[in-house]
Amino acid sequence: MTTTKSRVVYTPSFTDGAEFRIPTFKVLKQDGSLYKGAKAPALDKDKALRIYRTMVTTRILDERMLAAQRQGRLSFYMQCTGEEAAVIGSAAALDDADMIMAQYREQGALAYRGFTIDEFMNQLFGNELDYGKGRQMPVHYGSKKLNYMTISSPLATQIPQATGYAYGQKLAGEGNCTITYFGEGAASEGDFHAALNMAAVQRVPVIFLCRNNGYAISTPAAEQFAADGVAPRAYGYKMDVIRVDGNDVLAMYEATKAARSLAVEHNRPVLIEAMSYRLAAHSSSDDPSGYRSKDEEAVWREKDPILRMRLWLERKKWWSEDDEKQLQETMRREVLETMKRAQKRPPPPLETLVTDVYDEVPPALAEQFEKLKAHIRRYPDAYPKSAEHAKGGA
């Protein structure tokens, strides 16, 4: 049975889809004023300031932690710099009970939900208070209470999982959805296509948020796909799609709010393509000077999403120079103090090496663990992190 309802032609007729040019939704100009015909979303002062403070906090956290990595205090770091509006503007449009399944550059969404600086630091330093028990590299955050799925390094695996998670939410009937974030590079993975197709077929309440930040490590978007971005793929799955200026926090908020209502109220999955730019390196292990120009970066620095929102807030008299100064100072101090605290905490206990592989430690693994402890007891100086923990047991 064919599902095509197309008209019939009698000479070969090809199309490359060029007629489907997808526009970009914008609300806020770089000077903080609104585009003609654009309308600011219904954002009260408290919420607007919560968004703004989270953006600034994320920027400061990223700057300080990259510096900490450069000083050798941290093994690895990834910044959200330049993409704060895309991430936090969209997260702010959700319900707190909605699930977030992110890639790895969306710490702003987690910060918006209320993850504390202490919680960030505990993960970054993999200390005994890290929820992930020191098992994953820095920036692989997760929070059960904040409905933020623990980050997994393999790209795009979270996308079909988001479809499945949202299907479960639909069956549960509690009016929630899942948002999943990924980059335009990850959208080349098979998991992306599987996820969108399955979501469209099953009418699942899920929002696919593609951060098109121009680069997958060093590979520019032009070498990632021939099409006009990622958005046109939605047509192929019969899915609602919108392209948004990712540096425009008001547009991101408004678009995600509308997407959420399509997803939750009408069981229509949505693809959002947020057009932005990864102002920082891919990670602390990357150096963009090898593949892009300073001039190109400068153009995007001019489009800073945080400054854009600040100018809007100042126009509304919701924010002042003094407020800015105070926030900057407070956050810098807090980041520094919590970093010192987290760094001093001991590592997770040795047994976390073998717990949580299964719900219970299987006998063969328990045996391996006892052997390891006996070995560490013989060479305590070689294992300063665990020599103390290895003292117990047979």
């Binding site: 623990t150 997994s152 988001a162 499945g164 479960g168 599987a194 949580d356 063969a364």
Partner: protein
């Protein structure tokens, strides 16, 4: 008790699980109204509705990704991969995601509700791509459980245990037994333990170990050996991961000899893991080298399938050589 073949027992297990808990969902390619290409999910959509038993698009990585998300959300997905030979597009989702969900999140999240069912093994003239036994790839992945049933009674009890186990389970169904293996199956719900091998027959001269469809092969080989006066202890491993070292080691301490058989190729097969562990445990008690009777190190053939497979004659020969060493 009802007389059932293995497919009916599996269908009955799924029916039992879906009736008991509305969070249990069955899905995969052709699983819906058609009931699966082997009919393991027959009538489940008709009985429980399209929301709980449904067809998926033809995309294994999507099926398992979707299932991982559902399990993380708290549902109890039973995902079908149409043939174990086609599980590899989902390898990443199984090995990097299902297996590591609990560990990497520090137990904040898990996909313990997940069960993946797949028809498996050869002997049905399926050639390269409808015959493979890929358990060893997955046995190298801590965090997974791997189960293979040998008959209808085992299939129902182990599948129900897999569905309720708080860890992701790969449930490989020896498809040559689907209709060939028939037996009495309790009508009510029951669960057989995971991680426990079963001693099917006690003996003193040699331990013969296998799982799934190989247990029938072992039975025939052992019949021949016993006629020659060799007393065989027969063990069905049942769970490949984590496997029951104690039961196997205790048996070999008693018999001093071990023959392991599986359909998958020799090199890197799970018999190698068993042999290594058992020689560590039982070194001074071994009377002969541990023997592996397996498929050859080739892709799975078609016309020469019989030559390739570790049949009862090959197992019998290995038992003889082990005892005569």
């Amino acid at each position: 008790m009802t007389q059932m073949n293995m497919l009916q027992a599996i269908n009955n297990a799924l029916d039992t699980a879906m009736a008991a808990d509305e969070r249990v969902l069955c899905f995969g390619e052709d699983v819906g109204v058609f009931g699966g290409v082997f009919r393991a999910t027959s009538n489940l959509q008709q009985k429980y509705g399209k929301a709980r038993c449904f067809n998926t698009p033809l995309v294994e990585q999507g099926i398992i990704g979707f299932a991982n998300g559902l399990a993380a959300q708290g549902s109890v997905p039973v995902a079908e991969i149409q043939f174990a030979d086609y599980i590899f597009p989902a390898f990443d989702q199984i090995v990097n995601e299902s297996a590591k969900y609990r560990y990497r999140s520090g137990d904040l999240f898990n996909v313990g509700g997940l069960t993946i069912r797949a028809p498996y093994g050869g002997g049905i003239a399926g050639g390269l791509y409808h015959s493979q036994s890929p358990e060893a790839y997955f046995a190298h992945t801590p965090g997974l459980k791997i189960v293979v049933p040998r008959n209808p009674h085992q299939a129902k009890g182990l599948l129900l245990a897999a569905i309720h186990d708080p860890n992701p389970v790969l449930f490989f169904e020896p498809k040559r037994l689907y209709r060939a293996s028939v037996g009495e199956v309790p009508d009510e719900e029951y669960r057989l333990p995971l991680g426990e091998a079963e001693v099917l027959k006690e003996g003193t001269d040699v331990t013969v170990l296998g799982w799934g469809a190989q247990m029938e092969v072992i039975e025939q080989a052992v019949d021949m050996a016993e006629k020659d006066g060799i007393s065989c202890e027969v063990i069905d491993l049942r769970t490949i991961l984590p496997w029951d070292v104690e039961t196997v080691a205790n048996s070999v301490l008693k018999t001093g000899r071990l023959v392991v058989t599986h359909e998958a190729p020799l090199t890197g097969g799970f018999a190698g893991e068993i042999a290594a562990t058992i020689q560590e445990r039982c070194f001074l008690y071994l009377e002969s080298p541990i023997a592996r009777v397996t498929g050859m190190d080739t892709p799975f053939p078609l016309v020469l399938e019989k030559e390739h497979l570790p049949n009862h004659l090959k197992v019998f020969e290995a038992i003889r050589s082990s005892v005569d060493f």
